[in-house]
Symmetry: none
Amino acid sequence: MAVINRAMTGAQKQARRAEILKVAMGRFALTSYATLSMADIARQAGVAKGTLYLYFHSKEEMFLALCEEELADWFAALDTALEQRRADMSIAGLVQLFAESIATRPYLLRLLAILHTVLEQNVDHDTALRFKTFLRERLLKTGALLEGYLRFLAPGQGVEVLLKIDALVIGLQHLAEPSEVMRAVLAQPEMAMFRVDLQQQMLDTMKILLMGLAYEAKYKQA
Amino acid sequence: MAVINRAMTGAQKQARRAEILKVAMGRFALTSYATLSMADIARQAGVAKGTLYLYFHSKEEMFLALCEEELADWFAALDTALEQRRADMSIAGLVQLFAESIATRPYLLRLLAILHTVLEQNVDHDTALRFKTFLRERLLKTGALLEGYLRFLAPGQGVEVLLKIDALVIGLQHLAEPSEVMRAVLAQPEMAMFRVDLQQQMLDTMKILLMGLAYEAKYKQA
Amino acid sequence: MAVINRAMTGAQKQARRAEILKVAMGRFALTSYATLSMADIARQAGVAKGTLYLYFHSKEEMFLALCEEELADWFAALDTALEQRRADMSIAGLVQLFAESIATRPYLLRLLAILHTVLEQNVDHDTALRFKTFLRERLLKTGALLEGYLRFLAPGQGVEVLLKIDALVIGLQHLAEPSEVMRAVLAQPEMAMFRVDLQQQMLDTMKILLMGLAYEAKYKQA
Amino acid sequence: MAVINRAMTGAQKQARRAEILKVAMGRFALTSYATLSMADIARQAGVAKGTLYLYFHSKEEMFLALCEEELADWFAALDTALEQRRADMSIAGLVQLFAESIATRPYLLRLLAILHTVLEQNVDHDTALRFKTFLRERLLKTGALLEGYLRFLAPGQGVEVLLKIDALVIGLQHLAEPSEVMRAVLAQPEMAMFRVDLQQQMLDTMKILLMGLAYEAKYKQA
DNA sequence: AATGAATGAGGATTCATTCAT
DNA sequence: TATGAATGAATCCTCATTCAT
């Protein structure tokens, strides 16, 4: 921190907000959401606890903002990648892109896993609306892009696919991050089936999903 | 409750344990896991708080047991249904069976949604092992059954399908149960895409998944 | 508000101070002192929070000023009324005048109820001195007036009576404004004795007080 | 503390409750209600903070119980004294008794001063009801006693007198306990009028009140 | 004079779990 | 085996006030 002392202009305020989020993310990387305290974040950010609440109405809102940032970043990376690899856009290539870009974002994954059950709980109407509006726009945009690549998708199906993937990601992340005890249990040979390689699973399942859609589309035509 | 004061024999102990679980479920039906207190369950069950801990080491273990019961019940229902409808076992029929049997078990759904993030957290090794062993056996059994019906499934793929469905169910349940505020936000017309009809979504997605698998199998052969 | 941006002259400063007080009173009318925030007053007054502190050193000082205003207003009304009704100045008439003029000033009553326990707490010496000096002068003036009407009062007893009335008003106001729960409890028939009709009580008690004084005076003479 | 470790019987629980109240009173004697923390009371009582909440639902309820104890004690002392001095029960004697017994109970006075504005605020219906029921019974009893001594009181007027005295006591206590700053201000010679000798004031005012009532009674007869 | 960003102390309360009886 | 009294950790948030600009 330290550069700004009093964020007077809008830009400075944005900067401080961003700084706080950066610190929050750094701490989130070290522990779970539940064990992470606002006091700790404030201390690490070099600001008073009250200052945090100047920028975010609650702990949940703070991490919802973080989740939005991560999502925005991910969507951006996705869009960029999609445009670069325009040549090879087979199902396999697309799925590879998705699975890789998600699986390499552990914080996004952890945030998505608690998004609905925690982060969206203690938040005011405005914040909730803003978040969903953002999400909606990104989904529509990337959904449309998707439809461009996967010609078997009917109009509007791009978004549907993305939402299914969202659900899938949340569920797989739950399966992939067992508790300490559970990890020990799953280490036994006969429990191998429960050990989830997140990226592999996503790769695998998304491919099946898209193939199913392609098949369905062909089948319908006939 | 209350007839038995001291559960001496093994059978009596089992009975009391079952009673406690029944009461716990009744209370869980009324509120969320977080807002449900052990004191309340004890009071409703007509026993002392300490008594609960004679049967379950923790709140999490208690609800993990509940989850196991619900899962056992669901698997049993599934098996029965599968055997009855042996004649018509198209993908559509199977999917219908699954989606319906899950979607009509709201408590199982709510328990699965917190299974990995909450229930499996504060549990000792033995309990965790027992639970996963139970789950493994059921998955293997029903997985094999599934392979019998869906001939395109390779050996071992039945279980894989079930695990994918598990992930899907968890994710969809998260999407389908928004917070109070979020529900208000999603009520707006342009947010329709976020409103999830759980049963429909499961029906739809599972069908696509299975079709994808069928397609993949055929494709591989060729 | 808002016309003046910088209050330069003494008159302008007085005007802004008065405006702030007016707004503060308006907000006080809507909630309790404790739940009323300086931020809210600033917002409603169209000034920054810091500006409030240019005119008042603390929240307490602000409401002490308000209390002073209300008291000045009440004393003025009292004096005017006293002079108008010079003809009929029986104890009953006087008491009626007092009780009515106080009971119809709910904000003055609420301020008096917290005057000593709250408003006089976080205030600097100067402000405290100024307030008590003001109060002293008004008490002396109206006290003397009172002695003119109630001939049985010895010199100096006018002020004493006023101070006794002050104590009485504070106490009765406390009794007359029960909490939400208490209101429910006092609604029961057998609790009727606790339900205080402020104006009636003041009327009643002040009359008794003055009659006692009159009686004592006569008794002493003899 | 220390004698009891676990209060199992009803009597032991009563004893522990009493102990906690004793400690609370001891701490209340040293600071104001606001600056007194539950943590401090727990520490001093040698119990955990949670234990406090086993006996009282809130800080307010705790001090309401204290107030009740003090009131009960005061009423008892009053009754005893009344019966002992049956011979001389002039107004002067009675007033002396009242003023002395109240003025020598500084904690009762301080509790009464915050009874309506603080203690009765954060309390559940049951507690509120119990408290007022207790108060009602004591008032009726002592009110009746009073009517026995002061023959000019009509039936029911005993309670009325006690309630007026209650209001008076609260108001006078407010006037008699100025803040630090105010004390300095009132130390100046010309501010002498504001310096309240609680016992003297009560003596004086109660006498006037009773004489007023006596006078009124005689006057009505005629 | 005015602003409004920053401060930071401050404390009641809950509830899963334990353990003396 | 059953009880229920006792534990105590654990933390979010408010808001009057200050002070750099």
